[in-house]
């Protein structure tokens, strides 16, 4: 950890006004409520296949999204519900996608792991670890040569720091000075294995930053304002031509890696300790302590629940996608034709 810059705490969030703080809390609350609902729907077998929740990691998606311009690009992993919602993708369509319905964001073609909403800047959720880092670099390259001032933000987990594509993308982004911000959500477990047991350095992302000439940045990923502050600085640097950044946000997932994983490999004491740092409850308490009325906060909580209830009802009402979609949209002409 030597030479690693730690950015944490409310002090880093100088300049965030009351409305922005409430918007941040609202995002965290909506994502939390959505993810809990998604989990309930798995238990009811309404969500098929696998899915990966951001319960406990909401502050990162929320804090970064608040720092982004509407035309910036987001690249997510298979754990991408939070980041997709945080950019403003319609919640009912996200939920319907999890349920495999026609009204889904991808009309049921992608599922939980591939959420995409180009009109909201969400350029895809990528389910092969590491693949999207070079793709995000490519979007940044495009923004750079088109001179649009757009920035690409790429979220990934701690396990990604040990795959080749991470290093190829970081190097290329640094050499080409690309406007891309890489955000490592270090939740301490690559899947079931502690990241520290399989990584040569204690901070899997930040300790690699110097290899690419980048500043090591570690942030408390459970503090939405701290995340917002480092993201704002990194995005501004990228937009001004200062090149890429690599942010390591320390966090913890409240559940297992995926739907199939109860997460029993984690020591009880560790889980208890991290639950005291729950981003939702700690941020709510801080806002209350700093003068936000309880009625305002409970109003946001109630709004989030109502929004998720409505999205759930709309998703359930959506029919299964028509089977004709199987052979649609392989090609840009809409077809799947491979011969004449």
């Amino acid at each position: 950890m030597t030479d690693t810059t730690i950015h944490a705490g409310a002090a880093a969030a100088e300049g965030l006004d009351r409305d922005s703080r409430l918007a941040l809390y609202r995002l965290v609350a909506e994502i939390r409520t959505f993810e809990k609902r998604a989990y309930d729907l798995f238990l009811q077998s309404l969500v098929k296949g696998t899915s990966h929740l951001s319960l406990g990691q909401e502050a990162i998606a929320a804090g970064v999204a608040l720092a982004m311009r509407p035309d910036d690009y987001t690249f997510c992993t298979y754990r991408g519900h939070a980041h997709t919602l945080a950019r403003g993708a319609p919640m009912a369509a996200v939920m319907a996608e999890l349920l495999g319905r026609e009204g889904g964001l991808l009309a049921g073609k992608g599922g939980s792991m591939h959420l995409t909403s180009v009109e909201h800047g969400v350029m895809g959720s990528y389910a092969i670890v590491g693949a999207h880092l070079p793709i995000a670099a490519g979007a940044a390259w495009s923004a750079q040569v088109r001179g649009t001032g757009q920035v690409a933000v790429c979220f990934f987990g701690d396990g990604t720091t040990n795959i080749g594509a991470f290093h190829e993308a970081l190097n290329l982004a640094a050499v080409w000075k690309l406007p891309v911000v890489f955000v490592c959500e270090n939740n301490l477990y690559m899947e079931y294995t502690p990241i520290g047991a399989v990584t040569a350095v204690p901070n899997p992302a930040a300790d690699r930053a110097s290899a690419y000439g980048l500043e090591p940045i570690v942030v408390d990923g459970n503090d939405p304002e701290a995340v917002w502050a480092v993201a704002r600085a990194a995005i501004a640097r990228a937009r001004e031509g200062g090149g890429p950044s690599l942010i390591e946000a320390k966090t913890y997932r409240h559940g297992g890696h995926s739907r199939a994983d109860p997460g029993k490999y984690r020591p009880d004491e560790e889980v208890r300790e991290w639950m005291t740092r729950d981003p939702l409850t700690t941020y709510r308490a801080r806002l209350a302590a700093e003068g936000v009325e309880e009625s305002t906060l409970s109003g946001i909580d109630a709004d989030a629940l109502a929004k998720v209830d409505l999205a759930t009802a709309q998703a359930k009402d959506s029919p299964p996608p028509p089977v004709a979609l199987v052979e649609r949209d392989v090609w840009s002409d809409g077809s799947a034709t491979w011969r004449n």
């Binding site: 073609k109 990528y126 070079p134 495009s142 190097n171 004449n340």
Partner: protein
């Protein structure tokens, strides 16, 4: 009409498209200052500058990923993978990301991207720099696959690939880089998904690809001397596959021979043979015969490599034996 080599045709095709469309960019290892290890991109850096012709590190995942991200957001990149064998190092990007993202997102994105790569044997480079891997891409839904055999086709099909809204894997053949031909002056744009009948004949159809095309033509000359008249088809495009032309010829001649540089199992000719068996069964006068490299990695020594890859002699002998 100018005489161009196959490698000069690559540069000419890229230049034609970069001149026409400012969103066309070229990236890859040694494509700029060095002009490409096969000298197929000579002069492009000088003409279009280092912004549009970019040397990359030896990072195939970064090359394809960067090209994909750029293609999703307004550019039309051409990415070079130096040897097709190296596609194995970035196959996740090619097969899982480039190929599938349009479908998975319900058509929200298009990926107008060309991946150029030097394919095939004949240069004694051994098993990791000589493979014919067009069937890898052919097997992945979402990729278009082209493999030209002549300089004119290089220009025309490269232009078509750049203008296509979908990802195209463009296999250039190493042993053809020195081949020369008259190439039409002015803008030249061909059509993907079109095979070409290069020689008419009534007795049998020979379908060949890339470096096997000139061998099939030589074989047809020799067969004619034996009184056997072969129709030779340059398949050119594997996806989309011009079955109308290929199967139309089979219906006329009643016999089909494929000449494939790829190792035997599941080479492109297997799909063509399967389609012919299913759709032209009543027209066939004898078995469909596939002439391929055996199912082995390609050896390095000239004597061994020449023995492995279908030769003019092997094509002639196989056809004569097969025609009884």
């Amino acid at each position: 009409m100018a005489q161009l080599s196959y490698r000069e045709a690559v540069a000419a095709g890229i230049a034609q498209e970069m001149e026409r469309d400012p969103t066309v960019y070229l990236i890859g290892e040694d494509v700029g200052a060095a002009g490409g290890v096969f000298k197929a991109t000579v002069g492009l850096l000088e003409r279009f500058g280092p912004d549009r012709v970019r040397d990359t590190p030896i990072s195939e995942q970064a090359i394809i990923g960067a090209a994909m991200g750029a293609a999703m957001t307004g550019l039309r990149p051409i990415a070079e993978i130096m040897f097709s064998d190296f596609l194995a190092t970035c196959w996740d990007l090619v097969a899982n990301q480039v190929a599938k993202t349009r479908y998975m997102t319900g058509g929200q994105v298009s990926i107008p991207l060309v991946i150029r790569t030097a394919n095939g044997g004949g240069v004694r480079f051994g098993a990791q720099h000589s493979q014919s891997l067009e069937n890898w891409a052919m097997a992945v839904p979402g990729l278009k696959v082209v493999a030209p055999s002549t300089p004119a086709d290089v220009v025309g099909l490269l232009a078509a690939a750049v203008r296509d809204p979908d990802p195209v894997v463009f296999y250039e053949h190493k042993s053809l880089y020195a081949a020369k031909e008259e190439v039409p002056d002015g803008e030249h744009v061909d059509a993907l998904g079109t095979a070409r009948v290069l020689r008419q004949g009534d007795d049998l159809t020979i379908a060949a690809l890339a470096a096997m095309v000139p061998r099939a033509l030589d074989a047809a000359d020799r067969l004619a001397a034996h009184g056997v008249f072969a129709e030779v088809i340059d398949v050119r495009s594997l996806i989309p596959l011009d079955t109308r032309t290929i199967l139309g010829s089979v219906r006329k001649t009643g016999r089909l021979f494929t000449v494939e540089e790829n190792p035997r199992v599941l080479g492109w000719g297997a799909e063509v043979a399967s389609l012919a068996a299913e759709e032209c069964f009543d027209s066939l006068d004898g078995p469909i015969v596939r002439i391929t490299t055996p199912h082995v990695p390609l050896p390095a020594a000239d004597a061994l490599e020449d023995a492995a890859v279908p030769s003019v002699e092997r094509i002639v002998e196989t056809v004569v034996a097969g025609m009884g």
